[in-house]
């Protein structure tokens, strides 16, 4: 690590620590204002029809849960801070001294607070707030002392904290009310499906060093052809619905493959700047689908009605409460996402083709010297990437809404690109990142339904805020394939 990068890295840790400490302060402060007897109910049965065994509701005392989560956040915040302090012995000493004093104050005020609570009087907010503050500082110091000598995987701990903090927030938002937890998680998964497919498409292309920002356009175009092909099969040829689905899927994959091929021709053969080529394809996709849609789909309504896939329950597994409705009662395209993800991972890291692809992405000249056909590899990968994006378009139509509307992808392809970077160009990482985006989106919907007093515009920012926090605190550096975006010229 050079000096500047190191400095930046430490700044990130500082920011992460400050963020977590601030978070736990807010958590505890707000918990103080939550009435002690308030509780939050999480419904665990799926909102729609489901085969899962019914289970009881999860009832949590709101304020208590908040305190616990706040303290956990403080612990990790202290941990983060300690990573910096271990470099400076005197600072560590000062912090522990401070922590000792704060611990005393904490104990005193804590007792006071408990007394007030027990007497059944009004919560004395000032004392309680002080309790929270002092306790946090104490714990932070303690955590610092303990962890400064140990290196435990920070990102795992931070991820756990982020999840806990989010649920703490949900508990506060739903205090004295109930919300459907299974519905929330299921919604998160479904919202992440198109994003994950877009991200996987990006992984396939960028692993061989072709930047694909045309994913949005590929998804939009394939969505159109999924609707058109599916409708023709279902409403004109009167095929059974499964056959019509396959026909629609074929249309989507074909459109995706053709646009992928177009990108490959521009980027590999003509060596066009890949960003510009991708942008051009995006604009082409918008124009093409809008034109065809207004000329074909709005004239002949039955060409825009391919039907929607039924959900398929996997025997036994779908009976598991909570997990069943989320993972095992979805439509075929969701299962296909899981399959594509696993296959991509295995192909990239455990096969000859994968090794070659990664070589082409890191150092095409070396790969070429060793006899790998760089051009062919890129053509194949980008076309495959286009087909995966096409699967995303097919999901939007056949797996979700059952009709094409102009601009219906609404930026999901671009968010997929962000998920790819967030996931460090790894298939499972990209899916994980997509899940986080999907969850943030589902969560903001839930918070809006619970009428949290936050303006809708801010709630809609949630997914992007999550990205920034995660990038600052968890991910650290994301390094793309070395040759990413550079056209290869044979000597």
């Amino acid at each position: 690590m050079d000096k500047r990068r190191k400095k930046f890295f430490y700044a990130l840790i500082y920011a992460g620590a400050a963020l977590l400490l601030a978070l736990c302060l807010t958590l505890c402060a707000t918990a103080t204002y939550t009435q002690p007897e308030q509780s939050t109910t999480f419904v665990l049965n799926a909102g729609s029809e489901s085969q899962a065994l019914p289970v009881g509701d999860l009832v949590l005392p709101s304020a208590m849960t908040w305190y616990v989560y706040g303290l956990v956040c403080a612990f990790v915040g202290g941990w983060q801070a300690a990573r910096l302090l271990q470099r400076n012995g005197w600072a560590l000493l000062a912090v522990s001294a401070l922590a000792g004093i704060a611990g005393g104050v904490w104990a005193a005020t804590g007792a006071l607070y408990a007394a007030v609570l027990l007497m059944g009087g009004e919560v004395w907010a000032g004392a309680a707030l002080l309790t929270g503050l002092a306790g946090l500082v104490f714990l932070a110091g303690l955590a610092g002392l303990v962890c400064a000598r140990r290196r435990i995987s920070l990102s795992i701990a931070l991820t756990a904290i982020a999840i806990l903090a989010v649920f703490a927030f949900l508990i506060w938002a739903a205090r004295d009310r109930s919300t459907n937890l299974t519905g929330l998680l299921s919604s998160a998964l479904l919202r992440s499906v198109p994003i994950a497919l877009a991200a996987l498409s990006g992984v396939l292309c960028e692993r061989c060093a072709v930047i694909n920002i045309a994913i949005e356009g590929m998804m939009l175009t394939s969505a159109f052809f999924a609707a058109l092909f599916g409708s023709v099969a279902a409403n004109i040829w009167h095929w059974p619905s499964w056959a019509a689905f396959i026909c629609g899927l074929f249309g989507a994959l074909l459109a995706g493959a053709l646009l992928g091929l177009l990108l490959a021709v521009l980027a590999v053969h003509f060596k066009v700047d890949q960003i510009i080529a991708g942008t051009a394809i995006n604009i082409l996709a918008v124009g093409l689908t809008s034109f065809l849609s207004s000329r074909i789909l709005s004239e002949f309504q039955n060409l825009n009605n391919p039907g929607i896939l039924n959900r398929v329950s996997i025997p036994l597994l779908s009976r598991i409460p909570v997990i069943g409705p989320i993972f095992f009662e979805q439509n075929v395209l969701v299962y296909m996402l899981f399959a594509v993800m696993a296959i991509t991972h295995i192909m990239l890291f455990y096969t000859r083709w994968g090794l070659r692809t990664r070589a082409v992405g890191e150092h095409p000249r070396a790969a070429d010297t060793l006899g790998i056909d760089v051009f062919k590899n890129r053509y194949v990968n980008v076309t495959l990437g286009g087909m995966v994006a096409g699967l995303g378009g097919a999901f939007l139509i056949l797996g979700s809404v059952g009709r094409f509307d102009e601009m219906m992808t609404a930026g999901k392809g671009f968010i997929g690109l962000a998920a790819m970077i967030f996931g460090k160009w790894m298939p499972f990482g990209a899916f994980g990142a997509a899940l986080i985006f999907g969850f943030a989106d589902a969560l903001q919907t839930r918070l809006a339904i619970l009428q949290v007093a936050i303006p809708s515009q801010f709630l809609l920012m949630a997914p992007y805020l999550v990205t920034m926090i995660a990038l600052a605190g968890v991910i650290g550096e994301a390094i793309p394939p070395a040759a990413d975006g550079q056209p290869y010229e044979k000597q």
């Binding site: 082409l284 709005s298 601009m407």
Partner: protein, 335 residues
């Protein structure tokens, strides 16, 4: 390098040709429409406004054309295309086109403008704002929904938090509250703060509906243009849930979802647009504001179609009475 330039150029030209549809030439009275994003076939405000222009073409024998906005930066470009081609009248569709319409109207005092969902204060001489008291119609829909719900919860959500959207939601909520008052019930409205953030992503509409259904809502009114069609797909898959359409009668415009459409909150933009064009055609056009209300049939609720038998005669009669009361001004719709 030259090869790459040629390839790019040909791609760009192809794109430009495909993106620009509509347009036209010739003499006579010409009226152009600039849509909001969401497309001409959004089964919603773009489509209804365009219907108005097509009606004008048939009735008045004028020439009409439209330009679709793919993004918000297209508004000004599209309006200026019609201005450059010397159109006699330009209809812009949507609240979000308010600023651009004002700019062009002031620069071109000899062209008549009409804008759907926007009115200016003070009024501009050559712009007629077509606004609708949809709260009145949504009030009726809310009352009906409260009377029909089995779970005691009804839901709504919007596209973007702008007045032409929230007016539906507020009216709907007031209608539910009025029902609660009259019948001593406790029907809840979910999603008053819920906005998906766009008017295009039908997938978001489906997810929002699923979330509302998971929280117990069984009647949903999506106020988000085509995004609502995604909601319709979710409603159709969940037995026992119903949909309230907006802008047009969804039993007609989205017939595949008629079996789940309880009613629709009508916003008769086609009639308003036709009237505006007629005034301009006849030379009696004046800037100002047209307000569509229950009284002048500018807004209303659609027939119950397949739910005709499920809506009790009492409820139907109450709705008639409330409509009369709103027109008389004795009921406050909350907007």
């Amino acid at each position: 390098m030259r090869k790459s330039l040629i390839a790019m150029a040909s791609l760009m030209v192809m794109t430009a040709i495909l993106t620009a549809c509509g347009g036209g030439g010739g003499a006579g009275f010409r009226a152009g429409m600039v849509t909001d994003v969401g497309g001409i076939d959004d089964k919603s405000f773009n489509a209804t406004s365009w219907d108005g222009l097509e009606m004008a073409r048939e009735e008045l024998g004028i020439e009409v054309a439209y330009l679709e906005s793919q993004q918000q930066t297209d508004y000004a470009a599209n309006i200026s295309q019609f201005v450059d081609q010397d159109y006699d009248m330009i209809v812009t569709v949507g609240f979000l086109l308010g600023d651009d319409t004002q700019t062009f109207a002031q620069q071109n005092p000899d062209i008549d403008f009409a804008i759907v969902d926007y009115s200016y204060e003070p009024t501009i001489e050559n712009v007629l704002g077509l606004v609708f008291a949809t709260d009145e119609a949504a009030f009726l829909a809310g009352y009906l929904a409260a009377g029909m719900t089995q779970t005691g919860k009804v839901g709504t959500f919007g596209g973007i938090e702008i007045p032409p959207v929230t007016i539906f939601m507020v009216g709907f909520q007031s209608g539910v509250e009025y029902y609660n008052q009259q019948h001593d019930t406790d029907v809840e409205v979910l999603g008053m703060d819920l906005f998906v953030g766009n008017f295009e992503s039908t997938d978001d509409g489906r997810r929002a509906a699923e979330d509302l259904i998971a929280e117990g809502a069984d009647i949903i009114m999506p106020v988000a243009g085509p995004v609502g069609l995604g909601t319709a797909a979710a409603v159709q898959e969940n037995p026992g849930t119903m949909l309230i359409g907006v802008d047009t009668d969804w039993c007609v415009s989205a017939a595949e979802y008629c079996n789940v459409t309880l009613t629709s909150v009508l916003k008769n933009m086609d009639v308003a647009v036709l009237e505006a064009v007629r005034l301009s055609y006849e030379g009696t056009f004046e800037g100002g504001v047209y307000v569509g209300t229950l009284e002048n049939d500018g807004v209303g609720i659609a027939p119950f179609h397949e739910f005709e038998d499920d809506v009790s005669a009492e409820l139907a009669a109450e709705l008639e009475q409330i409509k009369a009361d709103i027109i008389a001004g004795t009921i406050d719709t909350g907007w």
